[in-house]
């Protein structure tokens, strides 16, 4: 056999091999200290705003400021937060931008919730969603989707989000700890997915018929895990997000979710 594919792939992999370089981790702030802080009319976080600070403005009051304060402390971002009437002003550098998102978590039964097949443009997904009253338009790395609601779980079912490692691959991850009620919902969701994946195909490849759940944060699908119905016929007990995260972005995402959504 005259194939040289194995040698060519080897050469291409080694050519592309990245040089070892690790971003220095910022020390994590203590979340409890953030929770204890009291937000009044004016809140200052950190010693001072960084030199290259930008100004961000959000609508909201003291509650919005308190949530932002928790996020900045948990992600170790220097920022100054001011509340004036119904406007919150944040003075911080670019590191603060991902933490200004609403932080809304929604977990969907992917196959049952997806409206239409395949990814679409934003306009197409919006049109699909318009035909369903409570659908959400979300983006993935391959396009836009419309997901029919309501989601199986939301922020109300989340007890804690923490940056850690994917238990199997050791990649940076955000582990989602659910409330007791949320835990029941999650097991029920994933058991349903396992049963649907196994229906009538007991001898099939579980990866071919596996069903998925989508973990959506704001308008973005952050993970689309599958349930291996042969290995986990009774569903899963834990969820985590580990797609394409670094230590830094895992810390940011955990801070975003752990503080709860913006009002």
């Amino acid at each position: 056999m005259s194939s040289d594919y194995i040698e060519r792939l080897r050469a291409e992999l080694l050519r592309a091999e990245p040089k070892p370089a690790r971003r220095a981790l910022k020390p994590l702030a203590i979340a409890a200290a953030a929770a204890a802080a009291v937000v009044l009319a004016l809140v200052t976080i950190g010693d001072q705003a960084p030199d290259d600070a930008q100004t961000y403005q959000l609508s909201g009051g003291a509650q919005t400021a308190r949530v932002l304060q928790e996020r900045f402390a948990a992600a170790d971002v220097d920022a100054t937060v001011k509340v004036s009437g119904a406007t919150v002003t944040v003075l911080a550098d670019e590191d603060a931008r991902p933490l200004l998102q609403p932080g809304r978590l929604a977990i969907y039964d992917w196959e049952a919730s997806r409206i239409g097949t395949g990814p679409a443009t934003f306009e197409q997904a919006t049109a699909r969603a318009a035909r369903h009253g409570d659908a959400q338009v979300v983006r993935s790395d391959d396009g836009w989707y419309a997901l029919a609601g309501p989601p199986a779980l939301t922020n109300a079912d989340l007890q804690r989000a923490r940056a850690a490692e994917d238990p199997l691959t050791t990649q940076p991850a955000v582990l989602l700890d659910f409330t007791q009620q949320g835990q029941h919902k999650f097991i029920e969701l994933t058991r349903t997915l396992a049963q649907r994946g196994a229906d009538g195909v007991q001898h099939a490849d579980p990866f071919e018929t596996a069903q998925h759940f989508a973990i959506v944060v704001d308008d973005r699908i952050r993970a689309l895990p599958f349930v291996n119905w042969r290995a986990s016929p009774d569903g899963l007990r834990a969820a985590h997000i580990s797609d394409d995260l670094t230590d830094h972005t895992a810390t940011e995402l955990a801070a975003l979710l752990d503080s709860g959504p913006l009002p």
Partner: protein, 174 residues
């Protein structure tokens, strides 16, 4: 140099690749029946492993199990999308390699002939364990329960069987 899988993964990725590339091509070919998809999935799996390897710790499952866990994620993603993703290859700036007729022939041969034949030649206890776990994707606990064995015994048989297969497939040291 320490030539365990775990050491090679971190210190000599080329040698780690040599050990598992044929097994991975066979794994994907058996499941997709598509040599081009098997080639893409193999490339993407190794690209992901190369990016992630410095985080691998010996306290995790074996390096082979870790690699195949990545492979399972790629496979599930392939069935959902209808194609292999190329995110990690894009991140590394890797080019997609063309799969010639000869390449496709090699991949089919690995997936459909060699793997089955070699598995059949294993000692019966290893053969049954490898067949159930690797070819039929049954969990360790499920196999243990069905054959009245401990999970540790099943793991050991699978591990030993895979080691024999790897050696027979020519995954020697680089």
């Amino acid at each position: 140099m320490d030539d365990t899988d775990e050491a090679l993964l971190v210190e000599d990725f080329g040698a780690f690749y040599d050990r598992y590339v044929k097994a991975l091509l066979a794994y994907f070919q058996r499941r997709t029946r598509d040599p081009e998809a098997a080639a893409d999935l193999t490339a993407e799996t190794f690209a992901s492993a190369m990016v992630a390897r410095r985080r691998y710790r010996a306290t995790s499952p074996t390096a082979a199990a870790w690699l195949f866990a990545i492979a399972q994620n790629k496979l599930s993603d392939y069935w959902r999308r209808g194609r292999a993703e190329d995110r990690m290859r894009a991140r590394l700036g890797m080019e997609r390699l063309a799969v010639s007729a000869e390449d496709a022939e090699l991949i089919r041969w690995l997936g459909e002939e060699v793997a089955t034949q070699l598995v059949d030649e294993l000692p019966p206890d290893q053969r049954d364990a490898v067949r159930a776990h690797v070819l039929e994707d049954q969990g360790y606990a499920e196999i243990a329960g069905r054959h009245h064995l401990t999970e540790a015994t099943v793991r050991k048989r699978v591990s030993r069987g895979l080691r024999v297969l790897r050696d027979r497939l020519g995954g020697g040291h680089a």
